[in-house]
Structure formats: C-alpha cells, structure tokens
C-alpha cells in the first residue's frame, strides 16, 4: 500500500519534472531571446514570489488545509512597508518588521483554524478579504516608490554583480531547508501523517493543532517576505500588489502533484510546477500571447494535473478487474 503510494508520487514527480525540462528546452530552442541571461533574470524574478509562497503552502496543503490569504498578506506587508518608509523608519528595521507582520497575520489564520476549529478554506477566504482591505486602509490607492537603491538593486541584481540572481540564491537556500524538513525530519513525517489521517496522527501522539498553527505562521511569514521582495523588485509599495497570486500558488502546488485532500506530495514536484507555469507564461509572452489569454493555459493545466492521475488510477483499476475476470475464466 505505502510502496504503491510512493511509486505513484514519484511517477507524477518524474513526469512533471520531465515535462518542465522539455518545455524549458523547447522554449530555449524555439523562442527568440528566451535563453538570454536578461530574460533568465526576469524569469527568476517572476517566479520568485510564487515559488517562495509555494514552499509553506506545500506543507499546509499536505496537512489537508489551505491558505488562500497569502496574496493579501503580501499586499498588506507591501502597504505597511511603504507606509513605514514614508514615516522615516530605516529599511533595516522595516524589513524584519514586515516579515514579523506576515507571521502575525499567519497566526491569526492559525488561531481560527486550530483554536476555533473552523475550516481553513472559509477562514482564509475571510482573511483574504480582511488583509487586502486593511492594505487599502493603510495605503489607500497611492503608491510609495522612493526606496533606497541599495535594497532594490539587491533584489534585481546578481551575486557579486554576476549573472546568478541574488533572488535565486535566496530561493534555493529556502527551498533546500523546506525540502529537508518535509522529507527528512519528524516534522515532515508528522505533516504527511496528519494529512493522511488526522485522527490516527493525534492518537499516535502528533500535536496536530500545534503543527498546523506553526505552518500557518510560517506561511504568513514567507508571504510577508515575498511582500518585501515584491515591493523592492518593482520599487513600488501598493495595496493591490499581488492580487490573485494565491491562485497561481495553489495551481503550482497542485500541478506539482500535491493532493488537495492532503497526505500526498513532494517538494521537487512543486518546484517543477512553479518553474513550468512561469516558463510557459514567460515563453508565450515573448511570443506575444497576451497575459490574460495565458489564463487558459494556467486553468487547463491546473485541472489536468488532478484529472490525469485520477484517470490513470481508474484505468489501472479497470485493467486489474479485467485481468481478474480473465483469470477466473481460465
């Protein structure tokens, strides 16, 4: 049973990674300018916020919960960053404060889910509206843009001025930490156990509520960090920064093979999902397909990513039944 499950996970993981590589290669070969280092930098910056938020989202979805408020957390931290900068606080103080704010917002979600036992889908739809609303209350429809160049150019620049983007290094480090925790520590095993069967996890001594609470806190903190990076990248703090980003994150996570029912998933697949979505968008945009029409690709990929494994499973089941029937007849 568990080996069967393992096989299925790795099958989808391998498939999605292979598809991603193929798409990358085709894009590099067929799309002008896709392979240029300038475009590579854009690609990394485009996928950075989605990839960052997808890391804790993977944990959250594997435990069987969901966090739809992440994009609003990003927007609120961006608004607060702009407002604090306007009030003359130094950047060195503002940045940690913003990450902390994200963690606090995540804790609000965590409280509602673990203490009041409310469904995370409903709670985070509520905080999606609440946090975004507060972002507008903080900053209105104005924008703050005069951020110090030292910070904005760090986000858009490369390591030591080279071609490897700073953002990529940050992402790789955080992804490595998340991957290790999920796949090689007791915390990771507790995440899978909770998603597979919450009651069994409780009975086996896993503190499910505590786990979920801290997952929501880290989801918020990372969304806060993404808010800081987003603001600095575009050098623009606005209340509507990142609107709708939660859908892209959830799409990437599900495309990466994480089951929406919890208990299943792996981080390499999710990262491949993020890269696949970002590559498709980037390449098609270079081919002059409009951003909005790209929505069709995102939507169809999202559905297919869940539909395909399901169809495969029912096909296998049919084949097994047919084999059994054939065996009985001989």
């Amino acid at each position: 049973m568990s080996s069967d499950r393992l096989r299925r996970i790795s099958w989808w993981d391998v498939a999605i990674i292979a598809i991603t590589l193929v798409v990358l290669l085709v894009a590099a070969g067929a799309v002008d300018n896709f392979g240029s280092s300038r475009n590579f930098g854009f690609l990394v910056l485009d996928l950075l916020p989605i990839a960052l938020i997808a890391l804790p989202m993977t944990f959250v979805v594997i435990t069987g919960e969901i966090d739809l408020s992440v994009a609003s957390t990003l927007g609120l931290t961006s608004a607060v960053l702009g407002s604090l900068w306007n009030q003359g606080l130094p950047m060195e103080t503002i940045v940690p404060l913003c990450v902390l704010l994200g963690a606090v917002l995540g804790a609000v979600n965590g409280l509602f889910v673990t203490v009041f036992k409310l469904p995370s889908l409903a709670v985070t739809i509520g905080t999606l509206a609440l946090f975004r609303g507060l972002a507008f209350v903080v900053l209105g429809d104005s924008a703050v843009a005069d951020f110090p160049a030292a910070f904005t150019s760090w986000v858009t620049g490369g390591v030591g001025g080279g071609p490897i983007p700073n953002a990529l290094v940050l992402l790789v480090v955080l992804a490595a930490v998340a991957g290790l925790v999920l796949h090689a520590t007791p915390v990771g095993r507790a995440v899978f156990a909770t998603g597979a069967n919450e009651q069994a996890a409780r009975f086996s001594g896993i503190r499910v509520d505590k786990l979920k609470f801290w997952l929501f806190v880290s989801s918020g903190a990372v969304a806060g960090l993404a808010g800081v990076l987003w603001t600095l990248r575009y050098s623009s703090a606005r209340a509507d920064n990142g609107v709708g980003l939660e859908l892209a994150v959830v799409a990437a996570v599900l495309l990466g093979g994480v089951s929406i029912f919890g208990g299943k998933g792996a981080l390499p697949g999710v990262l491949a999902g993020v890269v696949l979505l970002a590559t498709l968008q980037n390449a098609l945009r270079l081919e002059d397909v409009t951003n909005e029409s790209l929505n069709i690709v995102t939507g169809v990929l999202l559905i297919v990513s869940v539909l395909l494994p399901n169809l495969g499973r029912s096909l296998r089941a049919t084949l097994r039944r047919r084999r059994l029937r054939a065996a009985r007849h001989t």
Binding site: P119, A129, E292, N295, V300, I303
Partner: protein, 338 residues
C-alpha cells in the same frame, strides 16, 4: 440533519435557521437606521434604487452559489462566467440591435448552463474536487473572454437603447432587475425547500456517502446544482451588461469573493448541508447596504473589503457556535433524535 422531507418535527431546526436569518435582518435594520439617522438622504428614492439594483446582481449570484455550497461543493468560476456571458451577450446585442431583451437573458442563462455543466462533469466524472475544477475554470473562462474580446470594449453608446432601457424599466414601480432577482430567489428557494431534488441536495451536503447509499442520484444532482449556479452567473452577466452598459473582458473579475462572502454571511455553511437561499440573498443585500452606508457616512470606501472579511470570519464563527450548541442539545435530547 436534513431529512428528505421537511417534517413538522424539525421545527427546532427551522427555528435555528430562522434565528440565523433573523440575525442578518437585525444587523440590516440597525445599519439602515443608524445610517438614515445620520444622513436622511440614505433613504431617498435614488439611493434605495441603487442599493436594490446592486443587490439584485449579487443576490442572483449568491443564490446560485448557495445551491452548490449546500451540496458541499464550491463554484469559484462565477465571476468569470459572468464576464463571459456579459461580453458575449453584449457583442451579440451590439450586432443585432433588434434582439428582444428576453432572448438576451436566455442566451446568458444558456452560456452559464454550459459552463456549469462543464464544471459538474469534471467534478463528477473526473473526480476532481470542485475547489480545483472551478479555480481552473475561473482562469480558463476568463482567458476565453479575453481571447474573444481581444482588448475590445463595448460601450453604452454601442448598445441599443431598448437593451439599456431595461435597467430603468420597472413593473409597478419595481425595477425589472429586482423582479428577476426576487423571482430567481423564490424559485430556487421553493425548489430547495419543497421538492425532492432540493432535499436531496441538502442530504448530499450533510453526508455524501450516506446520500449515495440511500440511492440518491449524486451525479445527476451535482450536475443540476452546478447548472443552476452557472445559469445564475450567466443571467447575472446579462444583468451586469444591462446595468453598466460598458463591458470589457475584465467584467466581474474578483466577484467570486463577494458571492461566497454573501452566501457565507447569509448562513450557508461552507461544509454543506445547511443554509438557505433566502439567507444568501439577505447576505447579498447586507453587503451592498454596507457599501452604500460607508459612502453616505463618509467613511473611507477602502474599509469595505476589510469589513467584508471581518463579517465572513464573524459569520463562520457564529455558525460554528450554533452548530456546537445544536449538537449538545441533540445529545441531551430524547430518543427520537438518535
């Protein structure tokens, strides 16, 4: 929790429901009274009319959403279906100025039914959760709208006067939009309350496994629920086109949030099996009234979304408390509830 027929013995249950909706009505009355006292213009004909017209579109959407949510599903694609319907019907009317409004309305419903059916087929036969399917079609339908629109915009002066005039037309002083919204709410409300199909939808939401075991046609009913939600969204698209006159491919972007909010604030539980379309419609009215009150009270419009968010959290917390109390009462209750 939801019997196939609504027996008189379930009076305690309907009283809970009534209490839930009474809460919204109370909040509404308090809000309207407070706003009207601080600015009497709030109750002027024009202001009330604006509120009712705004509510009618949101209410139609919320009623459709309630049906889907009651079956323990969700339809996040409604905003995109609204956009698709509004733009498609808008351009058809633009090309055929003689088209009667009724045909336009039916065309919108038709587009919605097709979209809803697609959602349902993926949910039922693809075994993909509704959240994922409708998140996907939220993107896909919107993308289709952008593709067909190609950056175009339909403006009011390109639409025939007969079409736009429908927004101002009224029967016995009640605008047609409001009449349509009320008719939809009543029709769906009666379907859910008094017909076998409606009771089956509640049963499916209370316990999908049990519903399948007692022989309820879960597949067909899922199809009907999503078709209703799609039809409502398609209809709302035409109402949107009539009311605003200016339509681009972005029409209705982000509406799904308000629609789900209206249903949840109206007492439709996100995990299915309880709530009514009356509640959802009242939720839509409350959200719209809050919006106008903020303007009248000279409070920054930016507060609206934050208030909507806080209301959602409040509503699900209250529902949770009520459910806990009901469960405790049931445990203490006599053998008839066993």
């Amino acid at each position: 929790m939801s019997a196939l027929k609504a027996p008189p013995a379930a009076a305690w249950w309907s009283s809970v429901v009534r209490a839930r909706e009474a809460g919204i009505v109370l909040a509404l009355v308090a809000l309207v009274a407070y706003t009207a006292v601080s600015n009497p213009r709030f109750l002027s004909g024009q202001s009330v009319r604006d509120i009712l017209l705004g509510t009618s579109i949101l209410a139609v959407l919320a009623v459709g959403q309630a049906v889907v949510v009651i079956t323990r599903n969700i339809d996040l694609s409604v905003g995109s279906v609204l956009g698709l319907s509004a733009f498609t019907v808008g351009s058809v009317v633009q090309d055929n100025p003689g088209l009667p409004v009724v045909v336009a309305l039916l065309a919108g419903v038709g587009i919605g039914v097709v979209c809803g059916t697609l959602n349902a087929l993926l949910v039922r036969y693809g075994q993909v959760p509704a959240l994922v399917v409708t998140l996907g079609t939220l993107y896909a339908f919107r993308g289709v709208t952008y593709l067909t629109a190609g950056g175009q915009q339909i403006t009011a002066d390109e639409l025939p006067r007969a079409f736009l005039g429908f927004a101002d037309a009224s029967v016995l002083g009640v605008p047609w939009l409001v009449v349509i919204a009320v008719a939809v709410t009543v029709a769906v409300g009666v379907l859910l309350r008094n017909y076998r199909l409606g009771r089956e939808l509640y049963a499916m939401g209370s316990s999908p496994e049990a519903a399948a075991l007692v022989g309820i046609k879960v597949g067909r009913n899922t199809l009907v629920a999503f078709a209703i939600s799609g039809a409502a969204a398609g209809l709302a698209g035409v109402l949107f086109a009539v009311r605003f006159g200016t339509i681009d491919a972005a029409a209705g972007t982000g509406y799904e949030l308000n629609v789900v909010a209206a249903a949840v604030v109206g007492g439709v539980a996100v995990f299915g099996g309880s709530g009514t379309v009356w509640g959802a419609a009242l939720g839509a009215l409350l959200l719209t009234v809050i919006g106008s009150s903020l303007t009248v009270l000279d409070i920054d419009q930016f507060w609206q979304q934050a208030i909507v968010g806080a209301l959602i959290l409040l509503a699900i917390a209250i529902d949770r408390l009520v459910a806990l109390r009901t469960a405790r009462a049931l445990r203490k209750g006599g053998p008839h509830v066993q």
